[in-house]
């Protein structure tokens, strides 16, 4: 589904990803761990093709197509959907209008909103304007559910979400990902209680430090923090 080979990326004159290899086979759900500032969001922006993230070397293949220099909207058209960590607010553009466009009126946006516990009054509100942290997450997840991408990427869908909603959105994401491919970024791993994932990777300083079973990696991180990864004997050495 997604195959990233030797990806090095710069933003604002700074190297944020170095020689990243990552493969998500069709139908699998992967998890990406990593401390703050390790480059997780930068990796997503690069997969999407945000022009301020410049690919220095390497390539990104999606469904066998080399998308490394494709415009954002064409990548999305191919089937990539992202729930952003920090989406911008857009005045006057209503969440409901975006949802109607994404579902082409075929899915009931109101029902979808209920599934992530976002009160339907939000559909009439300006996109992300004045949303609380948790509301932002739920609105982002809702938009991805409406988009129905082949590969759904969630950038820290659990940060800022209260316990009650964590279960709701975790379950919503999990049932959505059934039979799809996904990439889930989480800093603290809370949401993994509700999501079945096949493989996990740890990003440290812009490089994948190790990969393995999600439960195993999470429990190590819980026990020893991210420093463990730096010392990990199984860690992949950069080529």
């Amino acid at each position: 589904m997604l195959k990233i080979k030797g990806l090095t990326v710069e933003t604002a004159g700074k190297k944020v990803l170095e020689n990243v290899d990552l493969e998500i086979p069709e139908g699998e759900v992967h998890v990406l761990f990593g401390p703050n500032g390790s480059g997780k969001t930068s990796l997503i922006m690069s997969i999407l093709g945000f022009p301020n993230y410049r690919v220095v070397s390497g390539e990104i293949l999606f469904k066998g197509v080399n998308i490394t220099s494709m415009p954002i909207d064409e990548r999305v058209e191919l089937g990539i959907g992202v729930a952003f960590q920090n989406p911008p607010a857009i005045r006057g553009v209503k969440l409901g209008d975006i949802l109607n466009r994404l579902t082409e009126g075929e899915v009931d946006a109101w029902k979808l909103a209920e599934s992530v516990n976002l009160p339907t009054e939000f559909l009439r509100r300006d996109l992300n304007l004045g949303f609380s942290g948790g509301e932002l997450k739920r609105s982002e997840i809702l938009q991805v559910l409406a988009q129905e991408p082949g590969l759904a990427i969630f950038d820290e869908p659990d940060s800022g979400v209260d316990v009650e909603n964590l279960e709701i959105v975790g379950k919503a994401i999990n049932s959505f990902l059934d039979g799809r491919s996904g990439l889930l970024i989480t800093h603290l791993g809370h949401i993994l209680r509700y999501i079945e994932a096949d493989e996990a990777h740890v990003l440290i300083n812009g490089s994948i430090a190790c990969s393995g079973k999600p439960i195993k990696i999470l429990s190590q991180i819980m026990k020893e923090g991210y420093r463990w990864c730096e010392r990990c004997p199984e860690a992949r050495k950069p080529r």
Partner: protein
């Protein structure tokens, strides 16, 4: 009114402090008279143009209508069921019919303000009088259309609106010209009196031409518990348009709100502001402006809040969106606190379409052009006008047509 005519003469040469100075003598005063007729009987091209500023022919949509062509009143009246609740007629007729109307004439606008106010006094061409009777609530909007059909014409209207105590009404006014009109000058004096407990929502839509000049002069006086909402929408190019309407929140707990959405294209020069003077205890004001500039348009977006009572509060929000490198937007918010305790605040932001917003929408599958158009359309969000659903969707349609054309 010989006294005000004499007084007017003193300001005949006085330029306005704002906006380009105009030679008012360079416009023609000769207009052929139009015979009264039902508005549905007006030529098709005129009705199409009127519709573009929210003026409807279908009677079921409006409680009453005033339609002025050039210097002639072609139609005035309210639906039969509303007689005795509201009335609409030319100001000339109103001055003859009711002695008290004269008491409101030039009461809150100084006839000597500048050469345009004096012009409106010396060469006065009708205008509408709207009255909503005490305690009456009119559900459908009343409408007025001020139309110019002849090139190079000068039209000077003086309007008067009286919302009697505890009345409630929506008024929509469209000012526009025939597509063949290139040049001209429209001067519009409008005095609003919003009495105790009354609620008046006034929405004005302008549609002019690239060589046309416009000088509205507007003031509103609010009594106790009165609410005045003034909406302004201008989406077509104009040579110059300068106005700075004012609301005097004189009454206790009076509330004034100005919302404006304006778009300067071509070489348009727009100098548009709103003032709220807070004089009553518990008075509140709000000014919201959305200015868009493309091509080489120049926009001045002003706002002035004056707090004269300790218990008063107002906020001003001005946002400008630049769509071209040659255009400019100057946001000029001013706050004047004359007493302790008054709470005045403002926020102003001017800039181009934010790249992160475009990229974000592209990540939802919109093309770059679609993303820009969504953002522009959102920027001109009709819901800031606080209109009832039906009227809001009418205005939204008018805005959408423009938004589609912009990009």
């Amino acid at each position: 009114m010989p006294r005000s005519k004499e007084a007017a003469l003193r300001a005949k040469e006085r330029s306005s402090k704002l906006g380009p100075d105009l030679d008012v003598e360079s416009f023609s005063r000769d207009a052929r008279p139009w015979a009264p007729c039902p508005i549905s009987g007006l030529p098709e091209d005129i009705l199409r143009q009127a519709l573009s500023v929210g003026v409807r022919v279908d009677e079921g949509k409006r409680a009453g209508t005033y339609f002025q062509m050039d210097h002639s009143v072609v139609f005035q009246g309210v639906q039969r069921a509303l007689e005795g609740k509201t009335e609409i007629m030319s100001t000339q007729e109103a001055l003859q019919k009711y002695g008290w109307v004269g008491d409101y004439w030039w009461k809150i606008i100084d006839v000597n303000q500048d050469k345009y106010t004096t012009l409106a006094e010396l060469k006065w061409d009708q205008g509408y009088f709207i009255r909503i009777f005490e305690g009456q609530k009119v559900d459908l909007p009343l409408q007025a259309c001020l139309f110019i059909s002849k090139d190079n014409l000068n039209q000077n209207v003086h309007n008067l609106i009286v919302a009697e105590p505890n009345s409630e009404v929506q008024i929509i006014t469209g000012c526009t010209i025939h597509p063949d009109v290139k040049r001209g000058l429209h001067v519009g004096i409008t005095e609003f009196f919003v009495k105790e407990g009354a609620k008046l929502t006034f929405t004005m839509v302008h549609n002019w031409a690239q060589d046309f000049d416009v000088r509205p002069r507007t003031a509103a006086l609010l009594e106790d518990n009165a609410t005045f909402v003034n909406n302004y929408v201008c989406l077509k190019p104009v040579k110059s348009l300068q106005m700075y309407p004012v609301a005097y929140c004189k009454g206790d707990n009076s509330r004034a709100r100005f919302n404006a959405i304006f778009y300067g294209a071509g070489n348009s020069y727009l100098d548009i502001g709103s003032k709220v003077i807070l004089q009553g205890a518990g008075s509140r004001g709000e000014v919201i402006a959305r200015a868009l500039a493309s091509d080489s348009a120049q926009i001045y977006a002003r706002g002035l809040l004056v707090g004269e009572h300790e218990d008063s509060k107002a906020h001003l929000e001005c946002r400008g969106l630049l769509l071209s490198d040659d255009a400019s937007i100057h946001a000029i918010p001013e706050l004047v606190a004359r007493v302790k305790g008054t709470e005045l605040s403002h926020e102003a932001a001017v800039g181009k379409i934010a790249g992160d917003q475009i990229r974000y929408l592209m990540a939802r599958g919109f093309s770059e052009e679609e993303a820009q158009s969504l953002i522009v359309r959102g920027f001109m969000d009709a819901s800031i006008l606080g209109l009832p659903d039906a009227l809001e969707s009418e205005i939204k349609k008018i805005i959408d047509i423009t938004a589609k054309r912009i990009l």
